[in-house]
Symmetry: C2
Subunit: 200 residues, 2 copies
């Protein structure tokens, strides 16, 4: 929550003003508190502003939109997950064979997407590019693993084919409407990986 926002202007980074930083932290903390206590859906921007002790305009200036604010909250937990992928223990982190890492990735992504599904939905449509950054990381990682495994074909599209069934709307459909068990969905995804990996 204490990250400094740097705006590169003609190569000269400009430090965020101190009052702006203070307000940003206050807003993020207040938003997190409200989300924890009331649930994502029930949190209004007016409530966040009041809880943070700032004006509504300040919240919108810093985060652009409700989706943008939620995306920022998401980043907090996303960062930890990304760290686990980049430098955590195997099989999710480096050290295990790429196929094992891919399977661990799917398992982890599926459960974490389901856990944070409300926040992910609320954050979708954030045009600030933050939300896209999170997706971009997973796509890059899966492409890298597919490359390491030596899969033939259009790597970018195969990565999308593996990531698409892990998207929140699809998981919610399976779990809440079709009442599928998580274990079954996971087994299906691993089966999909097997089919994608075996070259013709």
């Amino acid at each position: 929550m204490s990250e400094r926002e740097l705006l590169p202007i003609l190569g000269q980074p400009v430090r965020e003003r101190s009052d702006a930083a203070r307000n940003r932290d206050a807003v993020m903390c207040a938003a997190q508190r409200l989300v924890d206590s009331c649930g994502v859906e029930a949190v209004t921007m007016d409530a966040v502003a009041e809880a943070a002790g700032v004006g509504k305009g300040t919240v919108f200036r810093r985060f652009g939109s409700r989706a943008g604010l939620m995306a920022r909250l998401l980043d907090e937990s996303e960062a930890g997950w990304q760290a686990a992928v980049i430098s955590g223990p195997p099989p999710l982190g480096p050290g295990a064979p790429p196929r094992e890492r891919l399977l661990a990735f799917g398992r982890s992504r599926l459960t974490s997407n389901l856990e944070r599904s409300e926040l992910l939905i609320a954050a979708s449509g954030a045009d600030t590019g933050r939300s896209y950054a999170a997706y971009s990381f997973t796509a890059t990682h899966v492409r890298y693993l597919l490359g390491e495994i030596g899969v033939r074909g259009d790597i970018a599209l195969l990565a999308t084919a593996l990531l698409a069934p892990l998207e929140v709307p699809i998981l919610r459909q399976q779990v809440q409407v079709e009442h599928m068990q998580i274990e079954r969905i996971l087994a299906g995804w691993e089966d999909l990986v097997d089919r994608v990996l075996q070259a013709p």
Copy 2:
């Protein structure tokens, strides 16, 4: 637009009142006209109500929400597409071998999803179950084709794996952000089908 809504109550269908039917048609026609002339995003519920010559409350009573109204508009074109799948000429319709039908299905679904992406996005979240009906049809059809082909495995999950990359948010990401060509996406999907079909 002249469909009669039947509410089965204890087995006794109740006919929709004539003024309700008239207003429903007026609202659907007005909404379609506004969408055609202004684009989906610019259409407000107030504008629809005024163009239809009814009160706002009437629109919300009949369609539940903006998403519900858009889902109904979608149903109009969806019906034609479903008819083509069920009884149209091969390879999309019956008569061709199931693998050919599946490939034709993907091609058709991909292009139609992209064409109607604005309406699909506006209709998503319609809890009226109408939107789910459209998804359910495609899932059932793909499961049927996979069964005909004789694929081994969890048919329901394999169908989801094939349908997920055709969802609008993913296609938009590929086309608008990553600037992929439609032809490339389509080729990737057909490659995915090949990998899924070949049993180990």
